[in-house]
Symmetry: C2
Subunit: 414 residues, 2 copies
């Protein structure tokens, strides 16, 4: 009997690639700043393509900037199995969020090649465009457009804080990767499996190596726009001011109070707040802030999200406020059959596993309606993520890659 | 008997120069964005120099970027009289804040020249560098360094939000004005008079054309630095977060409550607030915000300002906070003899006047310890300032220029 494909997983190679990739957009504090469609993000895609070509994978890209590397199947026309995640990061992100899922899918394909197995179906390694949504909001743009949940025209007009549109950034990325053939958006896709770091502390605390993800908690995102009036800090009377920042402070206090739950399940975050004109001696004329709200119970998520506009309006005077909802995604559950494949692979390899809910959103959210999808997590030290000090172990990374390899072989057919 | 110098003041010329200057850095909403040492600010200085040269004034500049235009006196060695204000603006500033004082001093000198008077002492029109402090904080840098209150080395390291230092911006401005001879910093100065728009509503409400400024209310400025910890908006528990923005919100609420006075005399403003990393799905790791605090009573100003650090510290947990005081200027009173000169000139010309306290800070604050100083105000529509819709009337502008002309003639000696 020949050796399993997963026995060809190289812990060292997988780890070295993480280190190598993290040098692209490296920050002084040991993290990465590789925002979507930036020069750094494009350079990371180029590096991924070179690695894939080195052992025979065929690169392609689609109109929305997703990058694919195909391991040919015996049946070239069969719907592929897709596995991957994203290479873009937060402005002060870590080395593993997203990168782990892409590099692990790459490692799985290399192990399958080295094992001599040619799977029945093609296997595509994917790097989805703009999962993080920090440069262009909201995130998961590449996966959403690929799966048909959003239209290309719909996202092209989104602009970053410097005024650059997604459309222009995509043209730029296309030029930089002009040698890579273009493929169509969308399915059919036979199955999708995404590996990712947990971004929470549970696996580490419970000493389990692999998390079989049961589903993803729901998320709604908003932007709150407050209009006040600029005036002189030294002369304008408090009673006559229309201070947009003080209105924002009142709203944030009231929102924080409303979102407070003793059980600490609600995730409510104001991550971005911009003041205009943002000068020390001018009363702020306008403020714009983001809201990120998540809850595993869709009914609670709906009720809390629906309360936001009213709370903001109640605390706006004498300013005006407009609340915009950017995205709304209810909680989802991955199919049992797909979760079972991950459990089986882990059990066969003697790697500990447990079921876990994903508190964070992932590209798999958008693949879920398109094809049977699943996710597997590995531990993330102290649950610290979206932070330059994000950390994992090389041994956990390799174990996750071994499980993923067996899941992909089982889906693609050996 | 020859005509008074003030009879040569041209309302049209003064108004046209305001309109012309306002085209440099003009904003779509009818204001100006001409921040200190920007290309626009330098272009405005160049325009000023050309106007001064057109009727024989001699331009010079000093090491800190202040621009002077000298009307020669009969005694070339006598200490000069200086009059002016600043040409830099807030990011969304008006056409008259600062510009009025410079253009009015220029108009006064041109009127004196046209009247055939050569004064005993030289008269210098001045445009002080960076009064506003919006690009480089704190403001009034040019006047402070000229008068010896701050050292050049002290301000050169201050950086704007793009990381450009005052030192580099000064070198750039010097290159752009390399044809203009350099003069020494500092005195002796025989007297300083600054004309300015009121930036408050009193003169308009009481229907007085000229305000004889009794003094300037005290001002303290601070920067509050909050250090928290970045984490993932979807996964990190509320109870374990170190959210720097929520800490800032608690501090601002507590500070606002402490600064509240029924009489509405305290001026407390948070005009700038920056969040890091400022991404929608990352819990803010740090926040930095400005405080501008003013009060005409130095004892109250001291007590309120001294309370700030303690209030911030009390609301910081679980984040850390550091409060830095950037500037501290107690209330000041201009000498009676100087104020009397303005009153006399207005009375002689039949222009209505009243005494008024300056709620806003001005360059005159720094000239006050160097030489006998004074200020005169003209009405500012509805007191709206540091705002693109700032407005004055051409008639008030000309009346202010007439009063200033007679004050300068009386100081410089006819």
């Amino acid at each position: 009997m020949s050796k399993r494909a997963s026995s060809y997983v190289s812990q060292q190679r997988l780890w070295d690639r993480h280190e190598s990739l993290a040098r692209i957009g490296a920050t002084a504090a040991g993290g990465v700043n590789r925002q979507a469609l930036s020069q750094e993000d494009i350079a990371a895609c180029r590096q991924l393509i070179e690695w894939g070509k080195s052992f025979g994978l065929q690169p392609s890209r689609d109109e929305v900037g997703n990058i694919f590397l195909r391991l040919a199947g015996r049946d070239a026309l069969a719907a592929p199995v897709i596995s991957g995640s994203h290479l873009d990061s937060q402005p002060t992100g870590g080395k593993y969020d997203g990168a782990y899922g892409v590099l692990t899918a790459l490692e799985a394909c290399q192990s399958i090649v080295e094992s001599g197995i040619q799977p029945q179906r093609p296997i595509d390694v994917v790097a989805w465009m703009n999962e993080e949504g920090s440069r262009f909001a909201p995130g998961m743009m590449g996966a959403a457009v690929f799966a048909g949940a959003r239209g290309l025209a719909d996202i092209e007009t989104v602009r970053d804080q410097q005024g650059v549109s997604v459309g222009d950034a995509l043209s730029n990325a296309k030029q930089a990767l002009i040698d890579i053939p273009q493929r169509d958006l969308g399915g059919p896709v036979f199955g999708y499996v995404e590996a990712h770091i947990e971004q929470g502390p549970l696996l580490e605390r419970l000493q389990k190596t692999v998390g079989v993800v049961s589903g993803i908690q729901g998320k709604r995102t908003f932007v709150v726009n407050i209009e006040g009036e600029a005036s002189h800090a030294g002369t304008s009377l408090r009673s006559e001011r229309k201070d947009a920042l003080l209105a924002a402070v009142r709203m944030i206090q009231a929102l924080t109070a409303r979102m407070h739950d003793e059980q600490d399940i609600v995730k409510f975050t104001i991550g971005r707040l911009n003041v205009t004109p943002n000068a020390p001696s001018v009363v702020p004329s306008s403020v714009r802030f983001s809201i990120d709200l998540r809850h595993p119970d869709s009914a609670v998520l709906t009720a809390l999200g629906d309360a936001i506009a009213g709370i903001c309006a109640a605390h706006a005077a004498p300013c005006k406020v407009r609340v915009e909802e950017l995205s709304c995604a209810m909680s989802l559950e991955f199919p049992q059959a797909m979760r079972q494949r991950i459990r089986d692979a882990a059990d066969t390899l003697g790697i500990s596993q447990m079921e876990i809910l994903s508190a964070a959103g992932h590209d798999a959210r958008y693949l879920h309606p398109l094809c049977p999808s699943a996710m597997l997590f590995i531990p993330c030290h102290e649950g610290i993520t979206h932070n330059e000090s994000e950390s994992i172990t090389a041994a956990d990374a390799a174990d996750g890659a071994r499980v993923l390899t067996e899941v992909l072989v089982s889906l693609a057919g050996s």
